[in-house]
C-alpha cells in the first residue's frame, strides 16, 4: 500500500515537473487555475467537510487575498482614479494578504458561530454580495470595477512574470510567467495539502470532526468548541486568501466580477464532487470542476450535435455548461463518496487483484477513507 502510494507520488511529481516543457500556455493557465482552486477547496473542505460548517461565501476570502496582495504590493498611483498601495516587497505582501484573509474570516466567525446548516450557508452567501459591494465602492483599494494590475511576485530577484528583456530559457523552452508560476503553484499546493492533511489527521482534525458529528460531545470531551470553530474559519479563510493571491498572479489583473456567486458555489461543488472532508477529495474535485468546462469547450468541435458559434442549435459553451451540470448531478447520485471514493474503490480493486486474493479478507468495513 505505502509502496504503491510512493510510486504514485513519484509519477505525479515527475508529471508535474515535465508538463511545462510540453504543454502550451493556455493549458498551463488552466492548470494553474485548477491549482489555485485546489488550495481554496482544501480550505473550504476543512470548514465544511471536516467541521460541518456550510460556507457558500468562500469566494469572498479569495477576493480578500487577491485584492489584499495587490494593495500591499502596488505603489500608489495617481490617475483618473487615484489608487492606493503600500508598495511592500511582494513576498511580504503575499503573506500579509493571506493573513488579512484570515482576519476577515476571524471577523465573520462570531456570526458563523451562531448559525447552523442552511442558515449559515445563506448567511455566508451574504459575504459574496457584501464583498461585491465593498469592492465596487472601495475604488482606491480595489480599482473599482476594472480592478487593478497585479504586480508580479519577485522572490530573491526572481520574477514570476514574462521578462521579454531577459528571457529565461530552460532546455530550449522559453519560461514565461505561466511556466514560472506553474512551479510556484505546485509548491504552494503541495504545502497547503500537506499542512491540511497534518491538521486533519492530528489532534485538531479529530476535534473538528467531533464538532461536526456531535458538538455537545466535543465540548464535554474538552474541546473549546467556539474557539475551534473560529480557528477553523480563520484557517479556511487563509487558504482562500492564498488561493486568491495565486489567482491574482495568474490573472495579472484582479477583477471584482470574478469573485461572485458562481465562483463561490463552484467551490462547494468541488469539495462535494471530490469527496467531503479530505484533502485528496478537495484536490480531485477542484481539478474536475475547473477543468471540465474548459475541456468541454476546447473539444466541443469533436462532440456530436454541436454547432459553431453563431449558428442555430446547441453551441459549444452551452453544451459544456449542460454537460457540467449533468456531471455534477451524476457524480453526486452515483458516487456517494465523491470522486475520491471512486478512486479509492478502483485502487482497492487493483491492489486486490495484485495481491491475488489470499483468502479475501472479509471485512465489515468498506474503509471509508474520509479523513486523509
Amino acid at each position: 500500500m505505502s509502496r504503491s502510494t510512493l510510486l504514485w507520488s513519484i509519477a505525479l511529481a515527475a508529471a508535474a515537473v515535465v508538463i511545462p516543457f510540453y504543454l502550451d500556455a493556455s493549458w498551463l493557465q488552466d492548470g494553474l487555475f485548477a491549482m489555485a482552486a485546489a488550495i481554496g477547496a482544501i480550505g473550504l473542505n476543512l470548514l465544511t467537510g471536516a467541521t460541518g460548517q456550510l460556507s457558500m461565501g468562500h469566494a469572498f476570502f479569495l477576493a480578500v487575498g487577491a485584492f489584499g496582495y495587490v494593495y500591499f504590493a502596488s505603489l500608489p498611483e495617481e490617475g483618473a482614479h487615484s489608487l492606493g498601495g503600500l508598495g511592500l516587497p511582494t513576498p511580504v505582501a503575499a503573506v500579509l494578504a493571506v493573513l488579512l484573509a484570515g482576519v476577515a474570516g476571524g471577523l465573520f466567525s462570531p456570526i458563523a458561530a451562531r448559525l447552523k446548516g442552511a442558515y449559515l450557508g445563506i448567511a455566508t452567501l451574504a459575504l459574496i454580495f457584501i464583498g461585491q459591494f465593498a469592492m465596487s465602492n472601495a475604488t482606491p483599494v480595489t480599482g473599482g470595477h476594472n480592478g487593478r494590475p497585479v504586480p508580479p511576485l519577485e522572490v530573491f530577484g526572481f520574477v514570476f512574470a514574462d521578462t521579454p528583456d531577459a528571457p529565461l530559457v530552460i532546455a530550449g523552452v522559453p519560461f514565461g510567467a505561466l511556466e514560472r508560476l506553474w512551479f510556484l503553484g505546485i509548491v504552494l499546493l503541495l504545502g497547503a495539502g500537506l499542512f491540511a492533511r497534518g491538521v486533519l489527521r492530528g489532534r485538531p482534525g479529530r476535534a473538528m470532526n467531533t464538532i461536526r458529528d456531535h458538538e455537545i460531545a466535543a465540548g464535554v470531551m474538552g474541546v473549546p468548541v467556539a474557539r475551534y470553530r473560529a480557528g477553523v474559519f480563520v484557517l479556511s479563510s487563509m487558504y482562500g486568501g492564498l488561493a486568491g493571491v495565486l489567482i491574482a498572479l495568474v490573472f495579472q489583473q484582479t477583477v471584482p466580477d470574478y469573485f461572485g456567486l458562481l465562483l463561490a458555489l463552484s467551490y462547494l461543488a468541488m469539495i462535494i464532487i471530490g469527496g467531503l472532508g479530505s484533502v485528496a477529495g478537495a484536490v480531485i474535485g477542484a481539478v474536475f470542476v475547473s477543468m471540465l468546462p474548459r475541456l468541454l469547450t476546447r473539444y466541443s468541435d469533436a462532440l456530436p450535435l454541436i454547432v459553431q458559434p453563431g449558428q442555430e442549435g446547441v453551441g459549444a459553451a452551452e453544451a459544456a455548461q449542460i454537460l457540467y451540470g449533468l456531471a455534477v448531478v451524476v457524480v453526486v447520485l452515483f458516487l456517494p463518496g465523491g470522486l475520491l471514493g471512486l478512486v479509492n474503490q478502483l485502487r482497492l480493486r487493483i491492489n486486490r487483484r495484485v495481491a491475488s486474493a489470499p483468502a479475501a479478507k472479509h471485512s465489515l468495513t468498506p474503509t471509508p477513507e474520509t479523513r486523509n
Binding site: T48, L54, I111, R114, L115, K116, G117, A118, Y119, G121, I122, A123, L125, A126, F129, I130, Q132, F133, A134, S136, N137, E215, I216, A217, L261, L265, L268, A269, I272, I273, L276, V314, G315, E318, Q321, I322, Y324, G325, L326, A327, V328, V329, V332, L333, P336
Partner: protein
C-alpha cells in the same frame, strides 16, 4: 411622505412576489430539507410556457398550463434526481440542485434566446391611482394572489396531515415510512407544488413594471433566498414576512439612495443581506423558523 408611502406600497407588492418564491423554498425545505437552487429554472419554465402559449390559448389557460408545466418539472426533478440521491448530508443535495439548475437554465435560456417575451397578462401597464399614490394593477394582483396562496398554505399545514407527513419525512425518512408515509409521494408532491408556486411567481415577476420574460429573470430568484432565510426556512408565515421585509428594504433603500449615499452606492443589493444577517444574529433560525435544539 407620499414618496415614502409609495415606496412602502411598492416594496410590499414586490415583497409579495418574493414571498411566493420564498414559499417555494419553504415547501421544498420542509419536505426534503433541501435548499433548492433549481428554483430559478422552475421560474423560467413556468414563465416560458405562459409566454409561449398565451397567444394561442388566452392568458388564463396559458397560466394554468404554465403552473402545470412547472409542477411537472418539479415532480420530475424530485423523481429523477432528489429521490435517487442517497445522501445524508443536505448540503450535498443542494449541490445536486445546482447541477440541475445549470442544465435546465442553459437549455431554457437557449430556447428563449435573445427575446424579451410578454406574458399577455390582463393588467397591462394599468395603474391604480390612490390620491397621489400610484400602484400598478399587476402588483395589486400579485399581492392578492400571494396573500391567498399563503393563507391557503397556512390552513393546509394546520388542518391537514400533509405538513406533518412532510416534516416527518424530511426529518427521518425511515421512521416516517414506518408511520405509513409514502415518502415518494410526499416529496414529489412538495416539489410539484413548489414548481407551481414558482410559475405563479414568474408571472408576477415578468409583467409590468418589468418588461417581460428573458434570460436574466433567474437572477431575481436569488433575492428570495434572504427572504426565505430571514423568515425561517421552514415557516410559511416566515416566507411571507421575509418576502415583505426584503421587498420593503429594497424599495426604501433604492428610493432613498440619494440620502444614503454616504454608505456607498448600490446599497440596494446588499441591504437585504445585511438585514438578513442582523435578523439571524438575533434569531439564528429566522423570525419564525424552528430553532435547532439539541439535548443529550
Amino acid at each position: 411622505m407620499i414618496t415614502f408611502i409609495e415606496l412602502l406600497v411598492n416594496g410590499i407588492s414586490i415583497g409579495a412576489v418574493y414571498a411566493l418564491i420564498a414559499l417555494g423554498f419553504v415547501v421544498i425545505f420542509k419536505a426534503t430539507e433541501v435548499v433548492n437552487f433549481a428554483h430559478a429554472s422552475l421560474l423560467l419554465v413556468g414563465g416560458f410556457i405562459i409566454a409561449k402559449t398565451h397567444e394561442a390559448l388566452g392568458f388564463w389557460a396559458a397560466l394554468l398550463l404554465g403552473l402545470a408545466g412547472a409542477a411537472v418539472l418539479g415532480a420530475l426533478i424530485e423523481f429523477l434526481v432528489i429521490r435517487r440521491a442517497n445522501v445524508v448530508n443536505h448540503s450535498v443535495l443542494a449541490i445536486v440542485t445546482i447541477g440541475v439548475d445549470i442544465v435546465l437554465t442553459t437549455e431554457l435560456t437557449r430556447q428563449i434566446g435573445t427575446e424579451v417575451l410578454a406574458l399577455g397578462d390582463p393588467w397591462g401597464s394599468e395603474v391604480l391611482h390612490l390620491g397621489a399614490i400610484n400602484i400598478p394593477l399587476a402588483r395589486i394582483a400579485a399581492l392578492l394572489a400571494a396573500s391567498a396562496v399563503i393563507a391557503a398554505f397556512l390552513l393546509a399545514f394546520k388542518y391537514t396531515n400533509w405538513g406533518v407527513a412532510m416534516r416527518a419525512t424530511a426529518e427521518d425518512a425511515e421512521t416516517a415510512a414506518l408511520m405509513g408515509v409514502r415518502r415518494g409521494r410526499v416529496s414529489m408532491g412538495a416539489w410539484a407544488v413548489a414548481g407551481a408556486l414558482a410559475a405563479l411567481a414568474a408571472l408576477f415577476m415578468c409583467i409590468f413594471p418589468t418588461p417581460g420574460l428573458d434570460r436574466t429573470v433567474t437572477a431575481t430568484a436569488m433575492k428570495a433566498f434572504p427572504a426565505a432565510i430571514l423568515g425561517g426556512l421552514d415557516s410559511t408565515t416566515g416566507a411571507l414576512a421575509g418576502g415583505l421585509i426584503i421587498g420593503v428594504t429594497e424599495s426604501l433603500v433604492g428610493g432613498y439612495q440619494g440620502e444614503l449615499v454616504f454608505l456607498g452606492r448600490g446599497l440596494g443589493d446588499v441591504a437585504p443581506f445585511l438585514v438578513m444577517i442582523i435578523v439571524l444574529l438575533i434569531r439564528p433560525a429566522g423570525l419564525f423558523g424552528t430553532r435547532e435544539l439539541a439535548r443529550v
